[in-house]
Symmetry: C2
Subunit: 507 residues, 2 copies
């Protein structure tokens, strides 16, 4: 049946071809666009090189990212320009000199300092969103000193292998965008641009990627297409992710590490559906509009479920720094709720738009948990946070309030020593609601539950759970826990979209 499906698409060659032509007409950069972006990139690189020379700093400008590879989607005006320093540079030198050069280059432009693993500059230059990112020029991608040092290697690998397949990359990027699995990898847990390019290089074309993906069953391992580094590492070991694509520039890295099982299978399903029924809609889907607060309240009434959301302020940092912290907070609260017998129907996270954020930051890799993030822009109390982003972690629950009794599990009966201490501890404990009893092979006791509502449970435990550096500071500054209509009534259009998705599973 899967083979039939793959054949299906081949039979409709003309139709599929005309879809591809239409899609490329919309997403392929025009010659004018290409000349423009190259000119702007060349200008900025010259400016970086000249500035470094003037300052007597050993550093060079380098264009990386999709603009460098000819694989950007038309209309995107993002440029990633790296300022590369010799490997011998210290981290302090890199940070200080890198930001000095970038500041001078950006002089006179609308600009802003941003914070990933190291600070960098974002500027508006001739209508483009440009990131000026300092990095170390290391010998191989397996010896990087900061997360971004890998990018120039990716750049070179793709440029060497993508020749002639740029259109296939554009088709695949737009297809994945359409089915919601493409984009900033840490925010969406989807497919990064570099990963899309590697899939095309591995399978050969958009059509061949879709045929192969329609048959994927996790774990999927792609490791054989190019082996660059010959450092004796055993590849494909210790990766527990559903999709494993070994980085051709660093065999110890899984390029698809951020792809969740859900995103992977959304891609599988979309690939299979497209093969069965090729349609331009997959590339440019029409999204149903977000529900209004009044509609959401009505949906909530029908579902009879409960919303409970943690709302806090975070500093205005890039998505790749903040989203992993929000996901971690979501997971920690989910574990807290489950441990305390609250059943979760669904959950999601949301961050209000950044003042400084743009789509361009996807090339700026960063420490996923924000634990090693720069301290600049956030002190221990967060009192110097200026611009803020409102973060929401929202849960849909089966019940908002549960019984005041909680079954507490003790040790197995056969472990005599632990048994005694458990029994001693619960001897005449006034908080207990039952005697110590045995169920199966374990001691048990019913105790009074400390929190009978999800709201009180989260409020009482929020500072003890694992959230990430900025989220932790943000929570100390203050937070709200909003439930049900109280949450919906105050929801921005953005949050309404999140709640619509949480309820209706629209993407």
């Amino acid at each position: 049946m899967t083979d039939d499906m793959a054949d299906h698409m081949t039979q409709d060659t003309d139709m599929v071809h005309s879809i591809f032509t239409d899609v490329l007409a919309a997403v392929k950069p025009t010659p004018r666009e290409i000349v423009d972006i190259q000119t702007v990139a060349k200008d900025i690189i010259s400016l970086v090189d000249k500035t470094a020379a003037d300052m007597e700093i050993d550093a060079r400008g380098e264009l990386v990212g999709s603009a460098a590879r000819g694989t950007w989607l038309s209309g995107a005006h993002d440029l990633d320009i790296f300022i590369t320093f010799p490997e011998s540079t210290t981290t302090t030198e890199l940070e200080e000199n890198g930001i000095s050069i970038a500041r001078r280059v950006a002089q006179g432009c609308e600009m802003e300092e941003r914070y990933a693993q190291h600070p960098y500059i974002h500027m508006r230059y001739a209508g483009y969103d440009v990131d000026l990112v300092p990095c170390f020029k290391v010998k191989s991608a397996s010896q990087i000193k900061s997360a971004v040092d890998r990018t120039p290697f990716h750049n070179r690998f793709i440029k060497e292998h993508i020749n002639g397949m740029e259109d296939e990359v554009l088709l695949l990027k737009q297809f994945m965008k359409g089915c919601g699995v493409y984009g900033s990898e840490l925010k969406n847990q989807g497919f990064a641009g570099y990963l899309v390019e590697l899939l095309i290089i591995h399978y050969g074309s958009f059509t061949d990627v879709l045929k192969a993906v329609s048959r994927w069953h996790h774990p999927v391992v792609i490791e054989d297409f190019v082996v660059y580094a010959d450092d004796g590492c055993t590849r494909n070991r210790g990766f527990g992710e559903p999709l494993i694509v070994i980085d051709p520039t660093d065999p110890n890295r899984n390029v698809a590490a951020a792809v969740s099982l859900t995103r992977m299978y959304e891609f599988v399903d979309a690939a299979r559906s497209f093969i069965q029924n090729p349609n331009k809609e997959y590339f440019f889907p029409t999204h149903s509009p977000a529900k209004t607060p009044a509609e959401l309240k009505n949906i909530r009434r029908i579902r009879g479920s409960h919303l409970c959301a943690l709302v806090l302020d975070l500093p205005d940092m890039v998505d790749d720094v903040l989203y992993p912290q929000l996901r971690k907070t979501e997971q920690s609260i989910a574990a807290l709720l489950q441990r305390n017998d609250f059943s979760i129907i669904g959950s999601d996270v949301h961050l209000s738009e950044s003042f400084v954020n743009s789509a361009a930051n996807s090339a700026v890799n960063s420490d996923p948990c924000g634990e090693n993030g720069s301290d600049i822009g956030s002190d221990v109390t967060g009192s110097d946070w200026k611009c803020l982003r409102k973060a929401t972690v929202v849960f849909e629950l089966l019940c908002s309030e549960i019984a005041g009794v909680e079954r507490r599990m003790g040790p197995p009966v056969h472990v005599g020593k632990n048994a005694e201490s458990f029994k001693d501890k619960h001897k005449d404990d006034p908080k207990d609601l039952s005697q110590v009893y045995i169920e199966g092979d374990r001691f048990m006791v019913d105790v009074a539950r400390q929190y009978t509502t999800a709201q009180a449970l989260i409020e009482g435990n929020i500072h003890g759970i694992s959230t990430g550096k900025h989220a932790r500071v943000g929570l100390k500054r203050g937070f709200d826990i909003l439930c049900d209509d109280e949450l919906i009534d105050g929801a921005t259009a953005d949050l309404c979209a999140v709640l619509t998705r949480l309820y209706l599973k629209t993407r």
Copy 2:
């Protein structure tokens, strides 16, 4: 530590000895009691033999059970007298002739026909509760034709091996009674009298049983003490129970099959506690009285949990026929509740006292699920049921009402064929509360939950679940589902005791 514990008891020999003396003084039948019971048994057996001879039926009376083995607890006035038929007898002959002989023997006494696998007679005779039970006299216990045919073999085995250890059996029976693990095996899922006797024969004494049991870690297998039947069977295979005691008269049978993991470890815990702190209390515990309805309502308020009980009438049959059906009903409802997202804190079953039931029926083994039970006394509609026993299956729940939305799991995404039919089925289904979506490797869809309260859920599904023959007929005759204070307000003293145990875990 376990060895220390075992030594502990040995050190207090005098004290322990005095406890044993006190206990035996209370539970050991007096010489007078022994003479009396033997005389009564002899009289009845003579009567059976004479009646059979008069009726020209080839059948003989035989005393079985604890009275035959000298291992009954003082005060018990129960006699099990079997009417044994040759193996060549047909089942119809056994049933007809057996009941005819028994009826004649019981003539003039207070008597009653009862129903296990075959009908039998219960009578009051000279102050004793006597069961007259027809059985086949087979060559070996592995070739039985009805469940009770095994009993004479057990009887012979114990009589041959128990000599001199009768007091040890009495101590162990009373100890197990005290800690709640002894008794009718199918009602309590505890230790039958025959099993207690085997444990004494295997370990040698009450003290040695306790020392060994204090170190038990399931699965425990006792198979080496006597191998009777040499029929080439591989013993100790295919038994999944936590305690496996191979029947010395039939290597294919686990004597401890009915012992639940919980009862087993309650025994382990009691054994260990007694060794550490020997005390007469273990044999004769003082039970705290059952709570009153007013107290139960207050406890319910503190626990904040919900009660939901199925109440139905069953025919007046023995515990060993009805309790397994109630346990099965309990398990089926528990599975139904869990499948539908209701969280269970605890559950129990209760049967009002039988008009005919007595403690004597433990020797009458029967088909545990009642599927093959005699039809006498119950037709398809139960309209001829005369005496009734009120059955209650009660659950304590975390929430009584949950959200109207239910997450329904579809097939894994990689199984393309099933995926299509799931998606087709849910295309524009008005009952759906979301689109089909993917979570992990599966398709999912949110649907409207049919039942949002436990009461409605049980009511709507009760006839579709597995319950057992008489329970099924009983449910067709009618049932109630009582919740919370409605249940407590109408509770008998008996049911109050059950609810007290459900809440406080007193035993």
